[in-house]
Symmetry: C2
Subunit: 129 residues, 2 copies
């Protein structure tokens, strides 16, 4: 920690992508934008539960990574549109693959969890019968 602040950042590219994709809001925002350009308030409305701070922050990160564009129309009041870039759209494929896995296997995961949690909360001397 004294030498390198984050030794993993430079290690694998997948780590960097996962840091983007893995956070709570990126996927939801990109899914919204997959339906076409969106204004700031539209995104805030479509993505239930997001704070305006996190929306701004995540959008900045996505723009920085070249996954979306931010277009300001200097009317009064100002209008800002966000839109996926080709790069952003290309990321949609692997994400979709992950979502397909989730949908296909979520049942098994949930079952596994039930089994695991059930085992843990058993009273040791008690027979399950």
């Amino acid at each position: 920690m004294t030498l390198a602040p984050d030794p993993y950042a430079a290690l694998c590219p997948s780590r960097q992508v996962l840091d983007r994709v893995g956070d709570r809001w990126t996927i939801l925002i990109m899914r919204s934008l997959a339906g076409g350009p969106r204004r700031f308030t539209e995104l805030a409305r479509e993505i239930e539960g997001i704070s305006q701070k996190m929306l701004t922050q995540t959008l900045r990160g996505l723009e920085r990574d070249g996954l979306i564009t931010r277009t300001v129309t200097p009317t009064v009041p100002v209008r800002v549109d966000y839109e996926l870039t080709d790069l952003g759209r290309s990321l949609g494929e692997p994400i979709a693959a992950l979502e397909r896995w989730a949908v296909d296997h979520m049942g098994e995961v949930l079952d596994a969890r039930d089994r695991y949690d059930g085992r843990e909360t058993e009273i040791p001397g008690r027979q399950p019968r």
Copy 2:
């Protein structure tokens, strides 16, 4: 926030998968285990930078989700082997897709970042030339 502690957990299955896959260590552990069963200390050695607490914690989570098995051999000292389940292995595919995207497009992302950061730190009156 007063009604539901986490309204997103129940919303989409992809969210749950991403919470697993997205954290710092899951991918690294599963990649290690893709090479065959591993003991606790082997994992700790292969995955540089992980604390023993996070290794334990992440392994528990993976076991709970049915992605890995934990086998205890009651020798002295005890021996514990971790191994991917079929379910765990099946998750390898979508993850590999994501990693392929990362490798293929990391250059573009990095370029985009440089451009973005460059713009922001420009002195307004100064011409870039």
